[in-house]
Symmetry: C2
């Protein structure tokens, strides 16, 4: 069957599209000398961070590769290294592009919003297509190469899980380290700059301002990309593993397992084509933010419709019309992802009831701001839970356990464009910062502000989507794990399983505690340094002298790399310790417990953070006294608390859930022996 | 076997002891006219609230009694009503005593600390002994009466669960309504009084100050009492239900089921005797707070040692030396409860590292105060999870599922004294308020402050104990439920069970959101009213005119009663909806999911709140600039956020977990038919 090459071919086309997008970004002008100087500082800071991060991760990857080569198999270790390298490459490409595109977006904004929008979205497309292209290319290649070696399919699939573990390992450090970096710089910059010195955000006199801009790229581009790369790869692998056992169930009896194994990669391939076509619909000449939203929605909907139609055709012809249930599963996943995005937008948009109620609470001070924002974040978990629950029930009803994995694959099939929309945000954010720092015409700043405002919304939606896809992916991996260790049931009434669940439910809380404490510590170091510079550099406040941006970047870098170690070890060690000491059933309980508690906690933190952010924006537009009022001060407190909630700890939970399931799945062959 | 009467006799002795303690409180003098006037206002407010609350609950009880009488059996309905009435009675007695003891403690403080301590602890003893006395008396009476009717034991036990549901129903409203009342008044009083008007806490010019003092009684006496009454009764019932099926397992094969059914009530009876004896050791003449702590610890340890010895004797003689495992289970529970208390003290004491790190973070403002407090709260979940996990593993290993329930019974066996220690706190707190408002000699206030400081610590420990016992009780009830609906396994790999777990994990978050929003709304109403009085009552600030205390009490009362309806309906409806629509297995998943996520969330909220409270106290002692400094202002924000965390939402989760399990257990006969 030649269709087997559909996946690598589609992946290559994605990479070619990424290349063209990159060229279209690069040929833009870079503006004034001042702009170029600032952009170069951001670019350099981001690249230095990434290089240092990758060097640290390399140690981890080598150690784990040796463990895998000895404990599982050398081929698994090879797949692991490949998965890690390709994820790192995607992150590198995305970051390189984003830090090249920011200043070009500012420059294009001098000509008009349509140009600026095109540049920033093209940059996002490079990230989106690099992630799906490298992910699918590497995975399909690894699968085809292993199959060509004549190894039995069972072994091929258990070996290919190593690729997923590689993706998870990079995601862990990129998300955790990036999340700590970005919020340490952001909180540190705000605490001294906005609160103490009373200078505006993105003010070039603030020594931490470049670190803050670097952080946007490190966290929201590289971190988010690695997170979704992991989900993308993980969901496909889980579906393949579940596919081979599905033929042993009544629902799929008599089918050739190859059909079910190849299907997920093919859906992903169709998703790439759909996303590319959809990208061409993301165009606007209008200046309102609603028009930009519309452009995004047009592109996303075109991609979704195309992939739905193509998947229907694929399932009914490749597998057979009587297996249309698989198609329903994919659609259930797609719709759940879209619906979670919509409800996230509702809870975090500054013109909707939840955020407005927080802004209102800001009038009675910071305490009520925190209480109401936290309550709204908790409340916002209802609908995502129901959407995921419905997707699970539908996909399971129509397509069994395999269907749940296919729902995750479906949800992520159009990732090429949805990640592009997401990665556009930090570029627009940076462009605004560069416009501010290089003292551009207010008209330019208005354009970048419009793009940035849209970016805040797409970022919130993207976070919801990332959490939802992480949950479904983790559930699929969990199912794959139970099959891999041969557990027929994981019985909650068995106290050992319950103990596993209890420990599992605690882990996301502990993970949050570690990452929030890390941000607090790192931000404190930044605060000390910024205060020192304000005091010791003469003429800084009068703009007669430049601050030392590099020292703040160095502090953020060092502390992020130092502080990511403990959570990293926790995420890898916890499932192994429970698995080997309490047994595979207890580990199953741990995975399930962490999944359900982590999912709701991640949504709580992401949405509370997003809502605080926009409640502050609402007040800054002149409501309840506007900027400088007591309500505004209270809202700034909320926003600052929300920063690590939404950008560090919340997203880090996604990684924890997927990584622990992946570790369990990869080490299943050893766990059976326990 | 005449031993059957041990339980009701012990219960009656507890009630007699409560009566003597009450008399010893009442014969104290009530001090000056000013003191009497303030105390009368608090007493009246508390009693009015309780009456109105009970009237509202009566409607709920009648409706649910009719549903039970029709759907399950009239006898179950009768047990339900009895359980509810006795819980309400215990709450009434405790509140009545506490609001009589507060002014008497202040008065006794004029003579010295030993006297004041004796009065306040006697008041706590009334509550403690009323709870265990009425709980065990009612339960054993219901059991004996039903058994005397010649009904088969299986039916007797499933009928007696109604008694537990009655306890749960009162606990729900007492905890939720009481929690909303107390924090609405507290937050409202602080926001306008301390923050806006700049007058101290407990200042008689603040119109919400009496409502705040009423709230301490409503929340911390009646609410806490009902919560632990529910755990006490629930754990005994769960153990009895598990006892009858335990004899069908290999571990207890050949035993007379009556032995295992009666054992939990007998352990409770021995606990009552131990608690009474222990109470006599709670005496001190020293003035340091460490001496008071020591006095409490002496009493608690005497009680624990006695009950351990007695239980060993009971198990080995009544059941047999080869069943000593049951004794280990009881000890595992007792130790886990004690250990959770210790770790709670560590995380919330103002002289320990976690709280000190929050105080340090207060120097950089409210945002870092919130972030670090929240992180510490999350971190503090590790050890309680491990303690409970170890208790579960040990008790299960040595005594099966029955052992888990016995661990809960063991943990709660000395409740008569541990609740007395707990209920002493709000009396001391009130006594301090009365001293302040009636302008007593500073020496008096110093004594009440010492008592109050100890009370803060015992309150934090009590909260940890309440959460831990709630978790073990809910787990025991969950096990009883699975047996009652005849589920051999609850399989997490079954997606319907997983969906139930996911919904279950979300419910504590939703419950918190509802209760926190309720506090916010109610506090806002108080703020408006206090501001109005400050503006409209001439001479109020110069103490030439009295504020209208009653209006603030009325607002707190109305809003608490209104706002407790939604969470109440959620807690009862959620398990029934999932049980009837998704099936008994999914309901099992819901219970397990809510248990694990609710347990960690409750600890997070309770400990974060306690740590913020004491971080503020630490700064008020003159550290980091002391009272009025920026660090202090930041710490006050943390304390205000922590108020609903630790006193409303966190404790309400205990109730949610137990109530949902109890509803599932009571409605099991109908759920089997689904």
């Amino acid at each position: 069957m030649d269709l087997v090459y559909l996946a690598p071919v589609a992946a290559l086309i994605a990479l070619v599209f990424a290349g063209f997008s990159f060229i279209s970004v690069k040929k833009e002008g870079t503006g004034t000398e001042k702009m170029q100087k600032i952009a170069a500082a951001i670019h350099l800071g981001a690249m230095v961070y990434l290089n240092r991060q990758y060097r640290a991760i390399a140690v981890f990857v080598v150690v784990l590769a040796i463990v895998l080569a000895v404990g599982i198999s050398p081929l698994t270790a090879a797949c692991f290294v490949l998965g890690a390298i390709l994820s790192a490459t995607a992150g590198y490409i995305g970051m390189y592009t984003a830090t090249a595109a920011n200043v070009r977006t500012t420059n294009a904004a001098r000509r008009g919003i349509a140009e600026a929008f095109r540049v920033s979205f093209s940059s996002g497309s490079v990230m989106g297509m690099a992630v799906v292209g490298l992910g699918l290319f590497g995975l399909s290649l690894a699968y085809l190469a292993l199959s060509a070696m004549g190894i039995p399919q069972e072994t091929v699939l258990s070996t290919v899980t190593g690729f997923g573990l590689g993706a998870s390992s990079i995601a862990l450090f990129a998300r955790v380290g990036g999340g700590i970096f970005t919020k340490a710089a952001d909180v540190g910059a705000d605490l001294v700059g906005k609160v103490e010195a009373g200078i505006p955000e993105d003010d070039p006199r603030n020594p931490a301002v470049i670190a803050d801009n670097v952080g946007d790229n490190v966290g929201d581009v590289a971190g988010m990309g690695a997170d979704l790369y992991e989900s993308y790869v993980g969901s496909i692998i889980a579906a393949m593993v579940l596919g081979i056992t599905a033929v042993k169930t009544e629902m799929y009896a008599g089918l050739d397992p190859m059909q079910l194994i190849l299907l997920p990669m093919m859906i992903a391939a169709l998703g790439i084509f759909s996303a590319i076509i959809g990208s061409f619909f993301v165009r606007t000449n209008k200046t309102e933010s609603s028009a930009i939203h519309m452009a995004f929605n047009k592109g996303l909907i075109v991609a979704i419709v195309l992939v739905v139609l193509a998947t229907y055709f694929l399932v009914t012809t490749l597998i057979g019309a009587e297996y249309v249930g698989i198609f329903y599963a994919a659609v259930a996943g797609l719709i759940a992802g879209f619906a979670i995005g919509l409800i996230t937008e509702y809870y975090t948009s500054y013109d909707r009831a939840p955020t407005l109620s927080i802004a209102k609470a800001a009038q009675t001070g910071p305490a009520t701001t925190i209480i109401s924002g936290f309550a709204k974040g908790m409340e916002s978990t209802i609908f995502p839970v129901f959407f995921v629950a419905i997707a699970i029930v539908i996909s399971y009803q129509f397509a069994g356990l395999y269907g749940i994995a296919i729902a995750a694959v479906g949800m992520l099939s159009t990732l090429g464009i949805s990640l592009a929309v997401d990665a556009y945000g930090p570029v627009a954010d940076n462009a605004g910062g560069i416009a501010e720092m290089s003292h551009q015409d207010p008209k330019v700043r208005t354009i970048t502000d419009t793009l940035d405002a849209v970016g805040n919304t797409t970022a919130a939606i993207g976070k919801g989507f990332a959490i939802g896809s992480a949950a479904l992916t983790a559930l699929a991996l969990f199912s794959a794990y139970t099959l891999a260790v041969g557990l027929q049931v994981i019985d909650v009434t068995n106290p050992m399983v319950f103990v596993g669940m209890l420990i599992g439910a605690m882990l996301p809380f502990l993970f949050c505690a570690l990452t929030m404490t890390a941000v607090g510590k790192a931000a404190y170091e930044i605060v000390i340094e910024v205060r020192r510079q304000f005091k010791e550099i003469p003429g800084l406040m009068e703009e007669k002298a430049d601050p030392d941006y590099a020292s703040c970047i160095a502090i953020s870098t060092s502390s992020a790399l130092r502080e990511m170690i403990a959570p990293g070890i926790l995420a890898v060690a916890a499932p192994l310790l429970v698995g080997f000491f309490l047994g595979p059933s207890a580990l199953g309980g741990l995975l399930a417990g962490s999944l359900v508690s982590g999912f709701v906690l991640a949504i709580t933190m992401a949405n509370a953070g997003g809502a605080w952010d926009n409640a502050k924006k609402f007040i800054e537009q002149g409501n309840y006294g506007g900027k400088g009022s007591d309500a505004h001060k209270a809202a700034v407190v909320g926003d600052t608390v929300g920063d690590p909630f939404k950008d560090t700890s919340g997203p880090a939970i996604n990684i924890l859930l997927k990584l622990m399931s992946m570790v369990a799945l990869v080490f299943a062959p050893l766990l059976i022996l326990v």
